[in-house]
């Protein structure tokens, strides 16, 4: 059984990636935070007594299901979801620009220009990842960001390994083409 410390360590290790994946999917940070919180609650409440080794695939599956559930609910209440999507913190008029400086803390060895360029490239890559079709993005992120193998990705997505390979291949080509068009070479 996973101890409280093991579960805490696991969640701390995956929460940022989970948040980013949710942002790529729903394109709204507030909803993405809700999705990650729901996924954390579900794994803690329903699988908190499982061994720590079983948590990663369970959380991956739960997160994907929670994202899918979000879209299902969105169809029903699309009107006010659209209304609330304007609450994106990026457009918050009360946001303090100094608050974001802490997140870029450990970059003292880089020049400001280099840091800025890196952030721009990362932002463009994130934009293009978010533009991928949902299933392609899901397969690509699970396979290359979560470092799952093809079989694990197929299990998490509920599809065949062949489909995973196809999705990943298409995602890779689409992403490479889009980045090249925006002048980014990796």
């Amino acid at each position: 059984m996973a101890t409280r410390e093991e579960l805490s360590e696991f969640l701390a290790g995956v929460e940022r990636r989970a948040f980013k994946q949710a942002v790529f999917a729903v394109r709204d940070e507030s909803h993405a935070l809700d999705i990650v919180q729901d996924a954390m609650m579900k794994i803690a409440e329903n699988y908190g007594d499982r061994p720590a080794a079983e948590l990663p695939p369970l959380f991956t599956r739960i997160l994907q299901n929670t994202i899918h559930d979000f879209f299902r609910r969105s169809k029903v209440r699309s009107t006010w979801v659209t209304l609330f999507s304007s609450l994106n913190p990026e457009h918050d008029p009360d946001a303090d620009p100094l608050e974001t400086l802490e997140a870029t803390g450990d970059t003292r060895s880089e020049s400001t220009e280099t840091t800025y360029q890196r952030e721009q490239i990362v932002a463009i890559i994130e934009e293009e990842v978010a533009r991928l079709p949902a299933r392609q993005r899901e397969a690509f992120l699970l396979r290359y960001w979560e470092d799952l193998d093809t079989a694990e990705t197929a299990a998490a997505m509920g599809c065949s390994e062949g489909s995973v390979k196809t999705h990943c291949s298409r995602a890779t080509h689409a992403l490479a083409k889009a980045l090249k068009e925006r002048g980014i070479t990796l």
């Binding site: 980013k20 609650m41 803690a44 974001t100 997140a103 890196r118 890559i125 290359y144 890779t172």
Partner: protein
């Protein structure tokens, strides 16, 4: 650049972006983690095994004695008096049967030795034999 290498480069960029989350997002994630940990499902409560009779004597509430083994003893506490009563009935019945057998054996022995009348077989009261013995004396 092959697909895996490309994926690795993208992964580095995505990790970089994930590390640069603003502090409010990081705070919300920490709060979400705290809420989740507060609701962590635990394994079943530790089991306490106590003798059934001790439970009955102490009037203790039912205690989960575990999935197997002696768990069936959980309900035995209130049954103990009933079991004792049944055992007592069986013992008394057995004792009475033994007495009846001994009485009949003595009667048989007396009839065979012509010490008792044949009517004794028809009378379950041992007094008939005693009366015959007194008359013989």
């Amino acid at each position: 650049m092959n697909q895996d290498e490309f994926g690795f480069r993208i992964r580095q960029a995505l990790n970089d972006g994930a590390e640069r989350l603003d502090y409010r997002t990081v705070l919300r994630l920490e709060q979400a983690r705290g809420k989740a940990l507060a609701r962590q499902r635990r394994a079943g409560p530790a089991t306490v095994r106590l003798p059934a009779l001790q439970l009955a004597a102490a009037g203790a509430p039912p205690v989960d004695t575990g999935r197997g083994g002696w768990g069936w003893l959980r309900g035995a506490g209130w049954m103990a008096p009933l079991v004792a009563l049944a055992v007592a009935f069986v013992a008394i019945s057995d004792w009475q049967n033994e007495r009846e057998i001994e009485r009949l054996a003595a009667l048989d022995f007396a009839v065979l030795l012509d010490d008792g009348p044949l009517e004794a077989y028809a009378d379950h009261v041992f007094g008939v034999l005693l009366q015959a013995e007194r008359q013989a004396q």
